[in-house]
Amino acid sequence: MTNIVTPSTAALTEAPFVAPYAAPENAFDEAFEVNRLPRLAWQSVMSAVHELGAEGMQDRHLRAQRILRDDGATYNLKSDPLSPNVWSLDIIPQVMVESEWRVLEAALKQRAKLFDLIYKDLYGEQRLLKEGILPSEIVFSHPGFLRQCHGLNWPTDIMLTFHAVDLVRDQSGRFIATGDRTQAPSGAGYALENRTVVSRVLPSLFRESQTMRLAGFFQTVRETLSKLALHLTESPRIVVLTPGAYSSTYFEQAYMANHLGYPLVQGGDLTVRNGKVWMKSLNGLSRVDVIVRRVEDAFCDQAELRSDSMLGVPGLLEVARQGNVVVTNPLGSGLLETPAILAFLPQISQFLMAEELLLDSVETYWCGDTNHMGYIEANLKRLIIKPAFRGINSKSIYCHQLDAKGLADTLAMVKANPVGFVAQHYIPSSYSPIWDNGVMHARPGILRTFSVATDEDFCVMPGGLSRVADHDDQCIVSKRLSGSRSKDMWVLSDSTETDIDVPLDNLPTSQAQAANLPSRVVENLFWFGRYAERAEMSLRLMRTIFKQLNGIDRFPTESREVLLGAMSEITGSLPGFQDQPELIENPNDELAALVVDANRVGSIKANLQQMLACAEQVKEMLSADTRIILNELRDHIHSVDRAYVNGLPSVPEESLDSLVTSLLAISGLNHESMLRGMDWMFQEIGRRTERALLTANLLKQTLSRPLPSLQQQQVLESVLLSVEALISFRRRYRTRARVSYGLDLLMIDRSNPRSLIYQIEQLRKYLEELPQSEQTVLGLSPDKRLIIKSLNDIQLADLESLAQIDESTQTRADLAELMTQIIEQLEKLTTLISDKYFDHTAGPQQLIKAKWKNNV
């Protein structure tokens, strides 16, 4: 059968590994022969599992989980950034030998070529319809047949760049195609992540098995995409268009974009001008030549396709039609995913290629064919009824699960709209071993394969995304990627030579890309910085207040009023404590809410959530270490939630410490490990402005009210404590807690990285380095003017007079006024930065349409 080299045959003969389970009789067992001994291809895997033992396997399993989580490998992220679903991976690889793979590969190439020809025919000459090879109703009534996409300009022979196939193995071990993905196939990125993880947790097995590498496939992807733009430019700009962070496969999109070295953009990051597509970036508009889309056909252009789309680029289709941008897979290709095509595929193959199909599809009948209806009616009980046109709510009906009434209803439904349904035979999937709770189980599984076009042919990824049912009782693996467990697919090479391997991290230089980030990305990083700082400042003040409340010293009413009032101000949850004597006496519930109530805008948890949401939006920009810290932060938030479940705990500050530590770790990491690119710069600008704003606000709230000396000292020390300056203060001024000394340290001390002046000087440095628009402004630009004004205001301030109490108002009016002025200037600065560098286009609206009634 094969001549595979099994490195551990010796070990095998000593300890034969016997199947610990039996696959159902009607299903093919992937790993074991009928005699329950491992198949040849699986011997090395099975002996490795055997040698590792339950403990070893469990250990590898946990390591894999940790890597996946740290990589941010998620699926189906819902609106809650706190609990993403980690991608589910089983560490036992799925194995196939090269000789068997080559047969499948040839069949998959043929199938990809066929689907490319079908696309070109249906959106071109339509010979398939004219000659009656494919019943025209299937195409004409398919909502995915986008007539607007008829006759797109295309620079190369093959239009269908990506093609994926879902396969099952029937009882005899033969592969059968159950469906095709032709529009924006997902899964190739997950396959790559699976490979990365499994080869890390089972390194020696991977090395010794001579597994064929995936890198060549991704290299071909890059080459093919570059060639798509050769008619436009020699150095094409290629982007990946994502539906956004809440798309279920967002991780994969970000991962692929990073791996291929392309910017990940959303519809709003692109704009059509002068008949071309441009990316809105920091440096202005930069031309885009190729768009790899993960957005569905109809949502790609509000001008000509669905006007209610939130994901598209208005005007895109026209640019694509004229060949001034290449959108791939080509728009309209979703049509080919209809299962109705499967019923006619052999004839189509004969007609378009004069070839027999090398790969069978699952037996399919189109209900719109009156000749098939008789068969469908007679065999309904054994069939699956599927909508011919995949919609949001389309569901397959497994007729063997129905009673008599269910069958009658199904038949009536089909007969009412026969064109809209197909009937398929059910093929029991083959069974593969998985590692679950310390034991090896057998689960039914399917395989998704991926092909990418080359000049005249297709290149198939040697491997794929193998998925098995997540639970024991599932007999059907979901079509979607969720609700199943994935496996790494290994094709074991026949030759002992390692194949020519392009290193996985061979990324094209990302220099140009870094200079040209989409505006949305820098905006998210800016806000990431701001939210992080806001959370940190509130946390610090909160901890200080808790210490005072539960401290040994007296905490008189005036001090409480000032500090609690400042807390409400800093978190922006007014009126809060301000002028609420009762609340100030019993502050616990309000304080607890300011910590853990995510629905309170400005609460610590809300800020952290916003910060995580920003991080999610720019996932592809985060370093591996940042992701690890963010994961820890998520864990810490959950533990704070638990600690606060019954209101304020007895030691309320305890659980907050770890949050502060995580936030510090993030800013430390930024400082030590991030390249000083625009991404870093904007995160820093966000952080510095926020810190300056909050510090000015804190000083204004806490120090402008004169207090009796004990209270004054308590408040001043609390403020110093919350900004980590109390020790330095005491060292420098001993015990003389004068307000002017405090101002010295917090306002104008350049050596204090938390002082106001420090923030503003940093901001001035950063602004110098930001790209400037070409139009020349006479003198200083408005943003720089604001910075210099603020610097001067602070430097020229007379601290003693700021600390003076104004007779008429009985406040430190000068201090309050100066801080108010600085806050205003900083807020103006953020608006200027935002106007200049971020994108504020509102979505498009539809033109009203003329109705024929103007003649009266």
Binding site: Q126, L129, K130, E131, G132, P135, S136, E137, F140, S141, R147, Q148, H150, V272, R273, N274, G275, Q302, A303, E304, S307, P314, G315, E318, R321, Q322, T370, V419, T841, A842, P844, Q845, Q846, L847, I848, K849, A850, K851, W852, K853, N854, N855, V856
Partner: protein, 293 residues
């Protein structure tokens, strides 16, 4: 007969529109009896980008994008063309293909023409076949009645039973509602007729165009002149697409000028697209003038 058509479309916005992308079906197409002699299209403000093309149905398209801020968008189309007589009324008594025969031919779909014409028997954006719609037209399209005669009778039935009322409906009023309320404009009548005919398994398509503004001496002015007009056509194998105008109870001859056809209004919308900004209010003025020259 030669005609000159002048079609002005004006959009007025509450606030400046900064950017727009539009696809227009405003230029007349060539048909078996209609030929465009010359055409001119002017958009103000001047688009930075414009192309002429052809859509899936072979209709001429005009795509443009304006990138300068504007509170008013004007599209001025002028074209000259020639129409030959296309009098099919004599066929009404001569052509004997019955509705039953046509349905059978479609079911067997033995020719390329019949396979491709199926597109017009199915649902489309504005048209969803239903039993209710079928019932309304069933008596006209009995199996033993010639298709041509049936279509004329049905055209007459709509003309008699429906009231022309520009206030009753909007662009998106479904045919079912038009049927219930028995009033609407040419577009509604065309959609209703198409929906009924498709519900009975026959192919019908939407015709969009103009009517001659001033009638020849001694004839009455037709309803729907001075504006864009809509009517329908039904497919009869050896005659091709035969047109009927339910708003005026007649078979178009040389006074109907075709700009585009498709499955329904959505395929041939005169001007579609999106604008950026522009405030909350939009107003639309359309004027059409069709003269013999």
């Amino acid at each position: 007969m030669k005609y000159r058509v002048r079609h002005l479309t004006e959009y007025l916005y509450g606030a400046p529109v900064t950017l727009c992308y539009n696809m227009a079906h405003l230029l007349p197409r060539d048909t078996h009896n209609q030929r465009c002699l010359s055409r001119r299209i002017l958009v103000s403000p001047t688009p930075v980008y414009q192309t002429e093309g052809e859509d899936y149905y072979g209709n001429p398209t005009f795509y443009f994008s304006v990138q300068e801020p504007h509170k008013k968008l004007a599209i001025d189309v002028e074209c000259y063309f020639e129409i030959e007589q296309n009098d099919l009324s004599n066929q009404l008594t001569l052509h004997g293909l019955t509705c039953g025969e046509l349905r059978q031919q479609l079911a067997s779909a033995s020719s390329t023409e019949l396979r491709m014409v199926k597109e017009y028997t199915l649902n489309s954006t504005h048209i969803h076949r239903s039993e209710e719609l079928a019932n309304y037209a069933r008596s006209c399209f009995q199996d033993d009645i010639p298709v041509l005669q049936a279509s004329m009778d049905f055209t007459h039935k709509i003309f008699e039973e429906f009231k022309f009322d520009p206030t009753a409906t909007s662009v998106s009023t479904p045919p079912e509602q038009v049927l219930k309320e028995k009033r609407g404009v040419c577009q509604d009548f065309a959609h209703l007729a198409i929906a009924c005919i498709r519900s009975l398994g026959l192919p019908a398509r939407y015709m969009s165009g103009y009517l001659e503004t001033l009638p020849p001496p001694g004839q009455e002015k037709l309803v729907g002149a001075d504006a864009s007009h809509a009517w329908f056509a039904i497919f009869i194998p050896d005659l091709g697409w035969v047109e009927f105008d339910p708003t005026n109870d007649l078979m178009p001859n040389e006074q109907h000028i075709v700009t585009a056809w498709g499955r329904d209004y959505a395929d041939v919308t005169p001007l579609q697209g999106v604008i950026f900004d522009g405030g909350d209010s939009q107003a639309l003025n359309v004027s059409v003038d069709v003269q013999r020259v």
